[in-house]
């Protein structure tokens, strides 16, 4: 996949969840947490992607499954992209009380060598110098210089549009990104997450006790189902009927 293909794919996924890029929306709802990782990998090549991702996260940050995002950062995001994701989340949480992504941002670290955030400004010494001069304090703290990001709220679809096309996000909004959201997202997107409670805990980034408690709640409303297999001596977990219905596109 070329950089251009990867950017096209990202753009269509962001379009699917309400960003007003002029592209066809992806046919399937994106895996939100992996979308953030992929955005962190590619954002330096496209300023508008970074700006729109920050805008979307500022408005719809509740929809992110925080525990799972932390787990994916730890297991899947190359260290070189940690600072970009940190800066993205840090900018997005400006003005939110309590800070929306504080627990995730704490686990990310600045880049080792300060430099411009965007490739276009890395392409010339003059532009790099200019980027450093214009860098906001928050971007300087992450070692990735960028100027003030202005949220483009008018370029986002309203919540009613986002939810009607992505019904699975309704549940995430209800859960405000807590561990239940991570449990359902892991069952939906991560192979073998439901093989056992231990596997599920690993996949969604919570402790086994926390996950068990989240499952107790999810079972009450039919969003998840536990099946004990004596032969295998473990508890399998699957999406329940209402969990499946709400995550389907």
């Amino acid at each position: 996949m070329t950089v251009s293909d990867r950017l096209d794919s990202l753009i269509s996924q962001w379009t699917r969840i309400g960003v007003g890029f002029g592209a066809e929306p992806s046919p399937e709802p994106p895996d939100l947490e992996r979308l953030l990782l992929e955005t962190a990998r590619e954002a330096s090549g496209m300023a508008r992607l970074f700006i729109m991702a920050a805008t979307w996260l500022h408005r719809y940050g509740d929809l992110i499954a925080k525990h799972r995002l932390k787990r994916l950062i730890r297991d899947e995001l190359e260290h070189e992209h940690h600072a970009t994701l940190g800066l993205l989340l840090d900018i997005a949480q400006q003005g939110t009380h309590p800070a929306q992504f504080a627990s995730i941002v704490r686990e990310l670290s600045p880049g080792p060598e300060p430099r411009p955030l965007f490739d276009i400004e890395r392409s010339s010494a003059k532009l790099a110098e200019r980027a450093e001069r214009r860098a906001t304090p928050i971007s300087a703290r992450w070692g990735l210089w960028c100027e003030e990001i202005e949220f483009k709220d008018d370029a986002l679809r309203p919540a009613s549009w986002v939810m009607s096309r992505n019904p699975g996000l309704v549940m995430r909004a209800d859960f405000r990104g807590d561990l239940r959201a991570s449990v359902l997202a892991a069952l939906e997107n991560d192979a073998d997450a439901g093989r056992s409670e231990l596997d599920l805990a690993r996949r969604c980034g919570g402790s086994r006790a926390q996950v068990r408690s989240a499952l107790d709640n999810l079972e009450l409303t039919g969003k998840a189902r536990r099946t004990r297999s004596d032969r295998e001596r473990r508890t399998r977990i699957t999406l329940g009927r209402s969990g499946r219905a709400e995550t389907a596109s």
Partner: protein
């Protein structure tokens, strides 16, 4: 808004708008670049920036009609606005002779600034997304020369020396191509 959405909104605006004479609009910024095919398809814009109306007094009537269109199409109320007119100094001289006709909808004749004018205005704006747009337009030596002359003339129009100096810095750092 993407290109299709902008064209649909302009078409509806043409249907709703009524005036005693034909009115011309000059678009700048992202909408101008998208409608003329100069900017990539992934480009997004939140609005259509109108830099000039001919006749000027038609502005209010057009914006009132645009508000009606906004509620019908579910767009932001300010999807068509004249906020950029505060930077009228940024419009290069003799833009009229270079403008590009986009379409005529009812009594509205819509134009966009030309490629070289768009490059000049983006050099002056100088945000990182403007730098990316300029790169995608592959400036040529004659574009650079045009922008240099444009920047030389800005002081007399009231642009601050600091902003002109920043823009010169951007201009000097552009990658220049022999052809588009």
């Amino acid at each position: 808004m993407n290109t299709t959405a902008i064209e649909r909104a302009l078409a509806m605006l043409g249907e709703r708008f009524s005036y005693h004479t034909e009115v011309e609009l000059l678009l700048v910024g992202g909408a101008a670049g998208m409608l003329t095919g100069l900017l990539p398809r992934a480009r997004t814009t939140t609005d259509c920036d109108v830099m000039a109306y001919v006749p000027e007094e038609a502005m209010g009537a057009v914006e009132n009609a645009a508000e009606e269109v906004a509620s019908e199409l579910g767009l932001a109320a300010t999807w068509l606005n004249s906020n950029v007119q505060i930077r009228r100094d940024a419009l290069p001289d003799e833009w009229q002779s270079r403008r590009v006709w986009i379409g005529t909808w009812g009594q509205l004749r819509v134009f966009a600034v030309s490629r070289v004018d768009l490059i000049a205005m983006k050099v002056l704006a100088g945000r990182v997304q403007d730098l990316e747009d300029i790169r995608s337009m592959r400036p040529r030596p004659d574009d650079v020369e045009f922008v240099r002359r444009y920047l030389d003339g800005l002081r007399a129009k009231g642009t601050t020396p600091g902003q002109i100096a920043e823009a010169r810095e951007v201009l000097e750092s552009l990658e220049v191509h022999d052809s588009e």
